[in-house]
Symmetry: C2
Subunit: 336 residues, 2 copies
């Protein structure tokens, strides 16, 4: 299985037998609305706090993913998840509801693919037959924790991104019907010295490029082997940087085969989302909602999801630190 | 490999080929001082902030662990780590220094065994030959973030615990000399409704008991199969609760074979540490410092480390939530 230094090959071909996405109103107004399982009309989900609303998004996505897999909670063997909240409380509290043995992970917005990679490793190694991977974010919890509470109405620069209100979850299984997780490339930290928390797309672009290049080297694959390669949440500032960096290295890809979840989840030109979407929920809802459904419809055969994460905390940037970034890539294939 | 529902068996017998611990002055004044690799005389490690000091503890422990394994940083294939800081910044920044592909994890004070379990899974599945697992905590960063800055000099109730200033790291390898990681039991959330962040030992005790009982069920082992079973950081309030709960279930163990890292790391009667030690660093420095050295000296053949974690955040308890707790157990054996 040790074919590539940073890449795990899943030779037992773990299958995504269930998936679900739950989103908020802005995502429901976006171009991918038809592919989400549940759209909440109100940001607060009728909860008393934003944090409780975020947790509910994830609990609902987990429930729906388990249902769509035809399982009960009791059949789940492990739950792997994380989110942006301090001490990943959305996941830890959702894990209490789900009840399965739980591994908390944190990769900021790369958590979607980090948790999918670990869940697939567990299944592939025979250590579990049904593993849930989930993540979530909420616009108002993330803004409150990382920048300013949305109630302040503070202005944001155009390089800022709009945290997706949404949760995505999948059930990875040893056997069954569905898209197969082929391999995962685990990223290393890239930090080019950017310190501006309102420009995370630019900070994360080099990490995405490094992981994509490493993935091609490790696997011997090339862009043409994928019907679609998407980055997690580079949005309109970071994505062109990633494309430029790749093209300098001789990797040319059209937007039809290379795109970014942060650009896909909203109509960036019309919705008030600054540079585009971000947050743990961004790549999760685009992948587990839109892309898996396109695979099932036969429109995509093999895709590579390169989820990007900015591993800063408010405290680290207040202390003058730059933003360490990372990207984890997972290749998913729809069997014939 | 799927012998127990919550337990991963590592049939390829991954080996801990290197380990290191770095601690602060209070731990250096404690009974295990001789087993730590580096003792800092000052809490600030001559850094400008407590957070930078915590990160340095981990960077030093990682460096020393890699050295003790006879490796260079470039030979490391993956780094798995987490800590108590918001967005686990100590590990994410240390991962930048280490340079290896990085998986951030969070299990509060159970992170030591969560990261060791995942590192062992990676090695056992053939997905990596050299994997670093590390964690850390610092008394002043944890107090500041979870309760009050130590500079305030606020009083604490006797049920409170004293966060260990220390970092521990190990290198897990496919082959080599050293103690073998036999199996890991991944815990599920236990939450009996305790809401007091100054009484985490009591909150965590049921999680430790659940994981210990599950470990015995999954593996068919019993207490006598271990020379020592230690919980992570239940300390003087939580540990007797765990022992009582186990004895009600018919599991009787003397303190010579059942102990707690939070009670071992300090002289609880003499040092001003309230109920005893806690923090991610607690089980890490006791296990990777003291216990691994006892194994190498032939004093212990097989041990079970049950690292306990309270998965709260200041925000969750401010919103009136109870404390979800978890424990992950790893069995380590010294080959003959």
């Amino acid at each position: 299985m040790l074919r590539g230094k940073q890449t795990w090959w899943f030779d037992k071909r773990p299958v995504i037998i269930g998936s679900a996405t739950v989103v908020g109103p802005d995502e429901g107004d976006g171009p991918l609305a038809a592919d989400f399982d549940l759209i909440h009309p109100m940001l607060d989900l009728q909860q008393k706090t934003w944090e409780k609303a975020e947790r509910l998004l994830l609990e609902q996505a987990s429930d729906l993913a388990i249902q769509s897999a035809g399982l009960t909670k009791q059949q789940l063997q492990f739950y792997v998840g994380g989110d942006l909240m301090n001490q990943i409380i959305s996941n830890s509290f959702a894990a209490r509801t789900v009840g399965a043995p739980y591994l908390g992970v944190f990769g900021a917005c790369s958590t979607s693919m980090e948790s999918l990679a670990i869940a697939s490793l567990i299944v592939n190694s025979g250590s579990g037959s049904y593993v849930l991977a989930g993540t979530c974010s909420h616009n108002c919890t993330a803004e409150k924790q990382f920048r300013y509470p949305t109630e302040y109405g503070s202005q944001k620069p155009p390089t800022a991104q709009y945290t997706v209100t949404g949760a995505g979850a999948v059930v990875v299984a040893a056997e069954g019907e569905g898209p197969v997780v082929e391999c995962a490339t685990i990223g290393k930290i890239a930090d080019l010295g950017i310190k501006d928390p309102f420009n995370m797309g630019a900070a994360m672009a080099p990490a995405a490029v490094d992981t994509i290049q490493t993935h091609f080297q490790d696997t011997g694959r090339e862009p043409g082997d994928y019907d679609l390669i998407v980055t997690g949440d580079l949005a309109s500032v970071g994505f062109p940087i990633a494309r430029d960096l790749l093209s300098r290295d001789g990797v040319q890809m059209e937007q039809t085969v290379f795109n970014d979840c942060g650009l896909m989840v909203y109509d960036v030109a019309k919705q008030k989302v600054q540079a585009g979407g971000s947050g743990c929920g961004c790549s999760a809802v685009v992948t587990y909602g839109h892309l898996l459904k396109r695979m099932k419809r036969g429109e995509l055969r093999r895709i590579l999801i390169v989820a990007t994460g900015a591993l800063l905390s408010p405290l680290s940037y207040q202390q003058g630190e730059s933003i360490p970034c990372i990207a984890h890539a997972v290749a998913i294939e729809q069997p014939h």
